[in-house]
């Protein structure tokens, strides 16, 4: 029967489709990117005010391959909403392991007058892939009033609900921190 190879091919295609990952929505770069950020996973200095924040994730491409060659740069404001233009506070190039995983520790960024929501900027590059410029937002942002599904559009720069990530509070009251997971999916060139 000639249907067996066709069925196998269909199954392979379906398998492939299951593995397909949707690219992370891009979001604009904003005005305060600074190149040559230091490589570190600890953006927070001892004694820094603000809610401690731990963000982790993994970098893939749309074929679901983990990208160990990815380079991630992040930058954000301090807890009061100020970018450091003089130095590299709250700016880093993040180490990525063999599985494309990354993590870093920071503080919850502040609000500032020209932006509605708290956010962290990302620039992700990897050989053979389109660079990704995006931003991460927090479902706990008071702007969303507990309903990011309905209210994410209150920040005119948030075009996609997917960029608003859940926030889990972990630790005891003395060491409480906000924990966020943000997967990054790059498109192939």
């Amino acid at each position: 029967m000639s249907s067996a190879p066709a069925a196998a091919m269909l199954a392979a295609l379906q398998e492939r489709e299951l593995q397909y990952r949707k690219p992370t929505p891009p979001n604009e770069i904003g005005p305060f990117y600074k190149k040559r950020a230091p490589q570190t996973a600890m953006l927070r200095a001892p004694g820094d005010p603000g809610m401690p924040l731990a963000i982790s994730g993994q970098v893939f491409n749309t074929r679901a391959d983990a990208l160990s060659t990815a380079v991630i740069e992040v930058w954000q404001t301090d807890h009061l909403g100020h970018y450091d233009l003089e130095g590299y506070r709250y700016r880093a190039k993040l180490p990525v392991d063999n599985h494309g995983s990354y993590k870093f520790e920071s503080v919850m960024p502040g609000h500032y007058p020209d932006r509605v929501c708290q956010h962290v900027h990302y620039l992700v590059t990897a050989p053979g892939h389109k660079p990704l410029v995006t931003q991460l937002y927090f479902a706990t942002d008071p702007v969303f009033e507990g309903d990011p599904d309905r209210n994410f559009g209150r920040d005119p720069l948030i075009h996609n609900r997917e960029l608003v990530r859940p926030v889990i509070l972990s630790g005891d009251p003395k060491t409480i921190q906000a924990v966020v997971r943000f997967e990054l999916v790059l498109e192939l060139l």
Binding site: P26, E28, I29, P31, F32, Y33, K34, K35, R36, G81, H82, Y83, L85, Y112, P113, D114, L123, T125, P131, V133
Partner: protein, 322 residues
């Protein structure tokens, strides 16, 4: 009285130390309710002001008479950028959904229109008015042939797009200030890359060529105006750093000064100064700084005075200083 006598020497000393200049409020132009002017562009000869208004209109006033001559719009989208041609006979208007329309000045006739698909952050017309450089947000800048309304080439950065574009006065060069913090210098007619400036760490928001087409001035988040050699992209010198971010630059017709419009990094709405730089000395010739005034445009008048605009409710204010 004693206090007033003490105050006067302090003011004079401040003016001496910081080059503060007595600004003159030249004109107050009333705009219709709801038509607050968001930003402006002066024609290179200083005889027209174009203002992008909150009601979607671009209003064109003569200067110094301040007579309203035209009102344009992009119909379905707010205006995001304005640029006069170097002879002042064309005005390019870009919108938040990618439309670009080019109008004749002062007649106000639509000469051509094109679409880029993204918010137009910056525009520049070549001196012979046959080429247009467009910076669509988060996309590579584009070099357009206006005669056939076709993109000659994209001008890509490593990522994201360009924030400012400018043709040199001699028409040979095109510069882009890109979000990857690089300034790129291209051959104007082909878009072939000829030099790059990689020394700037932060994003540049404004570029302007010197009137002799030998240098590019760049300013941005580093709060510095840098002078760049066109042929090799090297930063030749950086003018003294200020407390504010550079948002706009205009070279004077005689090439001796540069108007730099600054903004407060914490909010574009906060008051900020405008500096008149002496380009030969690399020093501040004078400073425009008025209490409560947030500049939203700058340029030069026919007689060489530096001009600044600001909005106050339903009026556009035009200030001048030397």
């Amino acid at each position: 009285m004693k206090g007033a006598r003490l105050l006067l020497p302090i003011v004079v000393l401040q003016a001496f130390l910081f080059g503060a200049s007595a600004a003159k409020l030249d004109k107050t132009i009333t705009v219709p309710p709801g038509a607050v002017v968001r930003f402006t562009a002066f024609s290179p000869k200083g005889d027209f002001i174009a203002g992008a208004c909150q009601d979607g209109q671009v209003r064109l006033w003569t200067f110094p008479a301040a007579e309203l001559r035209q009102a344009f719009n992009l119909q379905d989208q707010p205006v995001s950028s304005l640029a006069f041609s170097q002879d002042g006979t064309l005005l390019a208007v870009g919108g938040t959904r990618g439309a670009v329309k080019i109008f004749t000045i002062p007649a106000g006739k639509l000469k051509t229109e094109l679409k880029t698909g993204q918010t137009v952050l910056a525009l520049s017309l070549s001196p012979d008015k046959t080429l247009l450089a467009v910076a669509p947000q988060e996309r590579p800048a584009q070099l357009w042939d206006l005669d056939v309304r076709r993109v000659i080439t994209d001008l890509p950065a490593k990522f994201s797009g360009s924030l400012a574009v400018a043709f040199s006065p001699d028409g040979k060069w095109l510069a882009s200030a890109d979000a990857d913090t690089t300034i790129r210098i291209y051959e104007a007619t082909t878009g072939a890359l000829r030099a790059t400036t990689d020394d700037l760490l932060l994003e540049t928001f404004a570029i302007a060529f010197s009137s002799d087409s030998k240098y590019v001035y760049a300013g941005g988040a580093d709060k510095t105006v840098s002078e760049i050699n066109l042929t090799n992209g090297k930063v030749l010198r950086a003018f003294p750093k200020q407390s504010y971010v550079v948002g706009d630059l205009h070279d004077s017709p005689d090439g001796k000064s540069l108007v730099a419009v600054y903004f407060d990094e914490n909010s574009f709405k906060n008051p900020a100064p405008v500096l008149l730089w002496d380009t030969a000395a690399g020093s501040v010739r004078s400073t425009f700084s008025e209490s409560g005034v947030t500049p939203n445009g700058g340029g030069y008048a026919k007689d060489g005075r530096a001009l600044v605009t600001s909005s106050s409710g339903p009026s556009l204010q035009v200030w001048s200083f030397r």
